[in-house]
Symmetry: C2
Subunit: 327 residues, 2 copies
C-alpha cells in the first residue's frame, strides 16, 4: 500500500516544476456554507487540473531508457493534458486515447501540448485495450489515470502542500471534501493527511448516479454504477472504484456524498461570481455538497478541493444545458 | 508627493487582513504574447478587486474618533465594495453614492457588505457633491476613489508584494502593464517599484476613447476624454487623470496603450479558458494590449496586473454585447 514516503519523494520531484496552488477563502461563501471554507485551487495548476502532478511523478520515476520510448494513456481529458505536459517537460512523445465526444477544449489543449490523439467510440471501444496495443507496438509506457502508485503519490503532493499552507495560516481544518472519479486524487491526499493531520475527516463527493465510491465504502467492496446514468461532471464519471485506489480509500475515508447537476451548476456559478475562479462541473462538486446541504458545517472548517477548471466556454455560457429552475 | 515609506506603512496595516494574491504564469499565454507573462491576480483580492487595499489603509489611518462617525464614498462599484468591506472590518458605517446603471453584481455585493447605497443619475447628478453633502450632514469622512495619498499608498502595497514574489521566484521582469482609470493603482505600484525595481518600465493601459492618461503623459498636462466615448470596461472609464495621481504618474510611467473592446473581450475569454480566472473587462486590458499586439514583448518578461473580477455572470454569458466577429 502507498506510503507517506512515496508522496514526500513525489514532492521533491515536482519542486519548481508545478504550481503551488493557493489556498483561498471567501467570506460570502463561508456565510452560504454555514462554516469556514478553504479552497485548494487546483484549477490553477498547470494544464488546468491536478492531473499534472501524478503524470509528472510517474514519468519522472521511469528508467531513462524506458522513458525515451514515450508514454501512452487513455483519458476523457484532464489526465490527457497532464500526461501531455509532463511528457513535453521530459521531451518524450505522448499518445492519448480519447473518446470522440470529449470536450473540444480538452482535445485542443492536449494536441497543443504536442501529444498525438487517437479517438475511439465510447460505446464500442475499449480504451485501455487500445492503449495497451499501442504500448506493445511502440514500447511506450502506459500512464494509467489512477490505478498506479506513482500516479497516486503525485496527486498526494496536494496533501503535503495543503498541510503546510494550513499550518502557515494557523488554521485547524475539521474535514476535507474532494471530487472522486477513479479515486486517485483522494487516495493520495488522504494518505498524506492521515500522517500529517490525522484528525481531519476526509469525504469523497461524486455526481448522483456515479456515487460508486460512496456506495462501495458503505458495502466495503467495489460496486459499479448503473450504465445509463448521466451527469454534467464529465471529468469524474467512472464505472467503478479503482483496484489500487479503493483499498486505500476504504482505509482512509470517513464516507461520501452524491450531488445533483442543479447543485453543481449553482456551485460553478458561485465560484465564478464570488471566487472569480473558473471551475469545471466535476471540480466543483465539493462546494455543491455544501450549497446543497448534503452536509451541515455547523461552524466547522472545511477544505474543498477544486480539482480542475477545463470547461468549454461555450458550455459554460449555455449553463451546461442545466435548466435555470434547477439552479 | 507620495513616499515609499507610506506604502511600507500600508503593508504593515494590511498584514493579515487582505489576500496576498498569487503571481501566476501560463505557458499558452506566454506563447500567445511572444514573451513571458506573470499575472498579479488582484481579482482574487477581498471583494474581487485591488480596491480593498486602499480603502482599508485609508480607514485604518483615520483618527479613531473621526472613524466612528463613518465613511462615505462615490464609486461605480469596485471601490464601493472595497470601502464597504474595510468599513465593516472596523465596525463603522459606510455610505456609497453609486450610479443607477452600475452593474447589478457590484451593487448587490456592496449592500451585502452592510453599506448604505444612495443612487444618482450619471447624466444629471454630481456624485462627489452628493457625497460631500452627506459628509457635511453626518460627519462621515470621504474616502475618495483615487485622489488621496492614503488610498494610493494602499494600492501601492501590490508593488512591494510583487517585488518580493518576483525575487522569491528569481524572475527579472522588464515591464509592467496596469489598468488605469483615475490612476491610483498605478501611482501606488509605480512608486513602490521605482524604489525596489528601478529598471522596470511601467505602462498604463486604458480603453480606446478613455486613454486620457496615455495622452496626458504625452502632452505632460491633464487632458480629458471626449464625453461621447463608450467602452465595456466599466471599472476604468474616468473623465480625466486625477489631480493627485497625475504628477506621480508623469514622474514614474514610461507611457501607455489604448485597447479596443474586441481585444478586451478576447483577453477576458483567454483568461477564462487558459488561466481559469474570472477577470472583468477593465481588469483584463493589460493582456488585451499583448494579444492585440499594441506592444511586442520580443522575449521580454512582463507583469500584467489583473485589477478585478467583478463581472455580471449574465453579461459574461452574453459576451458584454461584443459581436463575436470582433473577438
Amino acid at each position: 500500500m502507498l506510503s507517506f514516503d512515496s508522496i514526500a519523494e513525489a514532492c521533491a520531484r515536482l519542486k519548481g516544476r508545478h504550481v503551488v496552488t493557493p489556498l483561498l477563502e471567501y467570506e460570502p461563501l463561508n456565510e452560504m456554507s454555514g462554516g469556514r471554507v478553504l479552497f485548494k485551487a487546483e484549477n490553477l495548476q498547470k494544464t488546468g487540473s491536478f492531473k499534472f502532478r501524478g503524470a509528472f511523478n510517474k514519468i519522472a520515476s521511469l528508467d531513462p531508457a524506458a522513458r525515451r520510448r514515450g508514454v501512452v494513456t487513455y483519458s476523457s481529458g484532464n489526465h490527457a493534458q497532464g500526461v501531455a505536459a509532463a511528457a513535453k517537460a521530459f521531451g518524450v512523445p505522448a499518445t492519448v486515447v480519447m473518446p470522440q465526444d470529449a470536450p473540444a477544449l480538452k482535445r485542443k489543449n492536449t494536441e497543443r501540448l504536442g501529444a498525438t490523439v487517437v479517438l475511439y467510440d465510447r460505446r464500442t471501444g475499449d480504451r485501455k485495450a487500445i492503449a495497451e496495443k499501442i504500448g506493445a507496438e511502440t514500447g511506450a509506457v502506459i500512464v494509467p489515470p489512477y490505478d498506479d502508485e506513482m500516479i497516486i503519490a503525485g496527486q498526494g503532493t496536494i496533501g503535503i502542500e495543503l498541510s503546510r499552507q494550513l499550518d502557515e495560516a494557523s488554521i485547524a481544518a475539521d474535514l476535507l471534501l474532494c471530487p472522486v472519479g477513479g479515486g486517485g486524487l483522494i487516495a493520495g491526499i488522504s494518505t498524506a493527511l492521515r500522517t500529517l493531520m490525522p484528525h481531519m475527516r476526509i469525504y469523497c463527493v461524486e455526481p448522483a448516479g456515479f456515487d460508486d465510491t460512496r456506495r462501495s465504502l458503505e458495502e466495503r467492496r467495489r460496486v459499479a454504477n448503473a450504465p445509463d446514468a448521466s451527469s454534467i461532471c464529465d471529468a469524474i464519471v467512472t464505472a467503478m472504484p479503482g483496484e489500487v485506489t479503493f483499498p486505500i480509500n476504504l482505509a482512509n475515508l470517513a464516507g461520501g456524498f452524491a450531488v445533483g447537476d442543479g447543485d453543481v451548476a449553482r456551485a460553478v456559478d458561485a465560484l465564478f461570481e464570488i471566487a472569480k475562479l473558473v471551475v469545471e462541473p466535476g471540480g466543483a462538486v465539493g462546494l455543491a455538497a455544501l450549497l446543497g446541504r448534503r452536509l451541515e458545517l455547523d461552524g466547522r472548517t472545511a477544505v474543498v478541493v477544486l480539482s480542475g477548471g477545463n470547461v468549454d466556454i461555450a458550455a459554460f455560457r449555455s449553463r451546461f444545458g442545466v435548466k435555470s429552475d434547477m439552479i
